[in-house]
Symmetry: C2
Subunit: 636 residues, 2 copies
């Protein structure tokens, strides 16, 4: 019963079919000039009249006939009978062809004397200097910019005929609910069609989102038959996979022609193209990131081939912060986060799960891995297309290490300063690697309390990073989380959920078990590892385990009971020279602010008595003349 | 009576004052999520619920408790009593923590047998995989992109609190008329305020354009007093110069504080900044290009400093196609046209007249010449900020030489093919220089008919351009233009208007006068030169001269009579290798098309019998296997 794609097209071949299988829609509409920014001129625009319409003076002075001044000189002043007094912008009467500045004339009774000949047309803005009546202002195909609109208004143009395209978007799926309705279990908001509408509207399309259609072939068929009559492009979302409830392909076949189904692209493989009554029908995959690929790589190029303006592209070259594996044979699009460390741009790829929209939200760009490539080593330089203003990269801080709710609050304060935090959670080991490879600005670490020296001495050689500085965020309590308030002695007779070996929670646990003389093999679930303290709390809350180790703030956020057993220091480690970086200085200033202490105190479970102190690798205090870092110009 | 600026600020100092003299407005507004693209988040956005809200199956198969499968293997199949049949996207009931693919299970009556242990959470999309309830989706300051809106909709977010700013725009000037009213002599449409509104609306501002205010201090004062109460920024256009009717400065002083008036920037020197009841008041200069500078270099940075997104910037490095002179002491902004010839980008500066809006319309970028610089040599590489999509440069053809109405019609056809023509009119000499320096794609030339060889042999050495090819556009009639139908013999007793020495009309005239035995000194106005045949026709039409030389099509366009005296060839000269360029091939195809011949025939005055033939420098026919050039991908 498993349906298969008959044939996967290459991305290039699919694009060729997409842009060559349909006639140009040639739809246009008349818009008021003030609403025409970003639109594409469909009929050439001509000036309604000349600008200026008559000759104007460009100076304060007198308008003269230049031939009357021939021969004038210091020793041969010429007195003019024919002239007109004019100010800047005044009309130069038709009988005059020059203006002499008021500073260069001498009053002589009712008349003026000049001592230099006027060149024809001097200080005159001749009629039609800017544009002449009926001359071309904007050619067909021109994309109208705001300053063009000033010119159009000046030239008497009130409306412009621009290219238009109608797109009908059909949401299909019995699991869909409209925006504003809270989805029940197994339901989702019809967000892919909302995204499609916003994305295509921004390109200048007029999108109509049709009512949600249940997964019934007859209903989908009726909606499509109607939509192709009214639109230049129809998008069906989704039902394009090869599952038993995916009817888009059969509906297209029943009404018209299937051009392709399945393209060697990730995410987005199930994308589909059909032709019904001459109208292109694009079938979007259901996973949000796959739908994004289909919109960006298929719908947008189709509109571009119809003469719509491309979205602005900001390509940059960046080095991969970590290796990247790709399926050979597939063009793969990966959301990445680009940040600058020193003079290098680094790209951190986001996890490849087509259902995780936060990957795109947190990313500021994406990269395309061509079909023949199997992957790249860390450090490989590749092209990234940014999805944000390139200047914003300078306001991005990359934090790599062990995440804690206190860091999220710090990020909140930083956002108010126009500083954006991109935090990833590879744990303490990832933090040390990132410090060593210089691929992060700062590395948050959770360490057994007051163990800085002993924890870090083994890494010093490995680091090769020169000196480090540690900015103390807070001391937190580590303990046992459970529904019932279990303690260390209870662990041998409940279901435990553990964290990874290098994690601080694990280090605390192992030390405690040793102290208490409990053999880890006695702990049921000791080998069952999850990724970090929040996952521990979730497992306990969901009933998969009875107890685990986490911090008090995480336990309290999960609504669970907590028995403290140890303390740990939450530190922000930076290369010492980074203390000079204005963004790090802003961050330190925020850590040291009373506002942040108040937030931590209110959250509970944080000891803030040392918050904001800075120490070196040997525990020595570092006193830097810290002032708030100044942010790049043009921001708050 | 000449008022002077007390003090010109440097651009940098003015910007510092602009961004440091005012409090942040802190205005926000709630917008529906679908209207939030491009807006800036004012309050952090959190997920309304976890996505997915419950564990979902990522495969078709059975949901199991992973611990029930422990020890399963090929030689130790385990039969499961507790399981649930699930399809992709189905809910995994809370008691199960893994999914086994249907391909990997064996039916055993009502039960299933497995031969491999399931890892906890395998093939499960855990609750909160995308995002967890109440977690941050978008931080404050984030600029919302279309794909973010998909995520927001998925997470149940229907509205977003975004930054807002209100801008009041006051048009002042007794010469202003509203858009839609045809300006009388000396009047202009209030296009600068329209441009300001469109420009600032695009940055996310809410602009209110107030009614036109006459040049009366009391009226302007009343409008300003009202506007500062309702807006975060007030723009007054114009009245900012130092003329006798310029009241903006005195009105600001009477209501508040003048921060600066006059900045060392061109165009835009009279720009002014005041503060009335805490609100910034920006005085725009009246010349359109000066107003553009004030909007782009002052209003936009102010909004950026308030956290509004900057306009996208596309910097490129380009070589100056001609020398550029600048006033030292002034930061100067020059509209330029950037085109690519081979591997070089060339920037052609546009004329520096602040009233000529077509300079900005025809430009695709601008460059800033810093205050200390007096100018640049041709060939200097400098930074240009493009005002169009960078990709559009590849669709631009630079034509430099002698312009003729027939070329404008050709450009019209080219626009329909997505090919844009940027034509400048430095005459035949400019054409030859551009060919020599390789700063144009093609050079239109007006030559005495059938004189190709004799005209060009002297230039061959000078050109150093290898072989040239000449694409024949048409043979035109050159003759005498007048109201009365004057002939060559009449020229000694009327007012004549001449063209420059190297122009074809001048060459024809000189040859004719010699043939007729007329001494040029007998021709009244022989020394009075204007720039090209269209200016001749204009001078005759406006009554400044009685006769001149131009082509029949120009005379007929001006509604004047025409007596033919000679023929000339209108040729498009290209370096021979340019015949391989796909854009030139498109252009040649258009010249050879029946449609273009029909247009020329309809215009009248063109002999099209040789249109489209291609000859070499020695007059030999060039037969190239021409096929329509293919345009860059992604265009029509």
């Amino acid at each position: 019963m498993v349906k298969r794609y008959l044939e996967l097209r290459s991305l290039d071949e699919a694009l060729r079919l997409l842009t060559s299988s349909f006639d140009l829609p040639l739809r246009t509409e008349k818009v008021p000039v003030m609403q025409s920014a970003g639109r594409v001129v469909a009929e050439p625009v001509y000036a309604k009249y000349s600008v200026p319409e008559v000759n104007l003076s460009a100076m304060d002075g007198i308008a003269v006939r230049s031939r009357d001044t021939l021969g004038a000189g210091d020793r041969n002043p010429v007195t003019l009978d024919h002239f007109a007094r004019v100010n800047t912008g005044n009309i130069v009467p038709p009988e005059f062809d020059a203006v002499i500045m008021i500073e260069d004339v001498w009053e002589n009774g009712d008349r003026f004397q000049v001592r230099r000949a006027a060149a024809p047309w001097q200080h005159v803005r001749p009629a039609g200097e800017d544009i002449k009546e009926n001359r071309l202002v904007l050619p067909r195909g021109h994309i109208i910019r705001p300053f063009d609109i000033g010119a159009l208004a000046t030239y008497g143009i009130t409306t412009v005929e621009v290219r238009a395209v109608r797109v009908g978007i059909i949401p299909t799926g019995s699991e869909l609910v409209p925006l504003g309705v809270r989805p029940g279990p197994g339901q989702v908001v019809e967000s892919n069609t909302i995204m499609a509408q916003v994305f295509l509207d921004q390109m200048g399309a007029h999108c109509t989102r049709l009512p949600i259609v249940q997964d019934e072939p007859d209903l989908i068929r009726a909606a499509l038959r109607h939509a192709v009559k009214e639109n230049d492009l129809v998008i069906i979302s989704a039902g394009s996979s090869a599952g038993t409830r995916d009817f888009t392909e059969s509906v297209i076949r029943s009404l018209g022609e299937l051009i392709f189904h399945g393209v060697a692209v990730r995410p987005g493989k199930p994308v589909m193209l059909g032709k019904v009554e001459g109208t292109p029908v694009l079938g979007l995959p259901g996973y949000p990131l796959a739908a994004q690929t289909a919109l960006r790589e298929f719908a947008a190029p189709l509109l571009e081939s119809w003469g719509f303006p491309p979205a602005p592209r900001f390509p940059v070259m960046a080095r991969l912060a970590q290796p990247l594996v790709s399926d050979p044979g597939f063009d793969e699009f990966i959301p990445v986060f680009v940040g600058r460390i020193g003079s290098n741009l680094f790209a951190t790829p986001h996890i490849k799960k087509a259902g995780v929209q936060m990957a795109t939200v947190k990313a500021n760009g994406y990269t395309r891995i061509p079909a023949p490539v199997e992957g790249y080593e860390a450090g490989t330089e590749l092209e990234v297309l940014l999805t944000t203003d390139p200047g914003s990269i300078e306001r991005m801080l990359i934090l790599t290490g062990s995440l804690d709710p206190s860091l999220e609050e710090l990020a909140g304060l930083a956002h108010d300063e126009g500083l954006f935090i991109h935090a990833t959670n590879p744990g303490n080991t990832g933090a040390i690697l990132a410090l060593r490879c210089n691929t992060c600005h700062a590395a948050p670490l959770s360490l057994p309390a007051r163990s800085l020296l002993t924890t870090f001495q083994p890494y010093i050689k490995f680091l090769e990073a020169g000196d480090l500085a540690f900015i103390h965020i807070a001391t937190t309590e580590m303990g046992i989380v459970s529904e019932e308030g279990l303690g260390i002695k209870d662990l041998s007779h409940v279901r435990f959920i553990n964290t990874r070996r290098e994690s601080p929670a694990r280090m605390v646990l192992d030390a405690l078990l040793a102290t208490e003389g409990i053999d880890p093999s006695q702990v049921n679930g000791y080998l069952q590892e999850v990724h970090g303290p929040p996952a521990v709390a979730a497992a306990v809350r969901n009933g998969f385990a009875d107890a685990g180790m986490c911090t008090s703030s995480i336990a309290s956020a999960a609504g669970l009971r907590f028995v403290p057993v140890a303390h740990e220091d939450y530190e922000l480690a930076v290369r010492r020279e980074m203390l000079e970086d204005s963004r790090i200085r802003t961050l330190v200033t925020l850590i040291q602010s009373p506002a942040y202490r108040q937030i931590l105190t209110r959250m509970g479970g944080y000891d803030v008595s040392l918050t904001g102190t800075i120490r070196g690798l040997n525990g020595e205090n570092i006193l830097t003349p810290l002032s708030p870092g100044s942010l790049p110009a043009g921001y708050i």
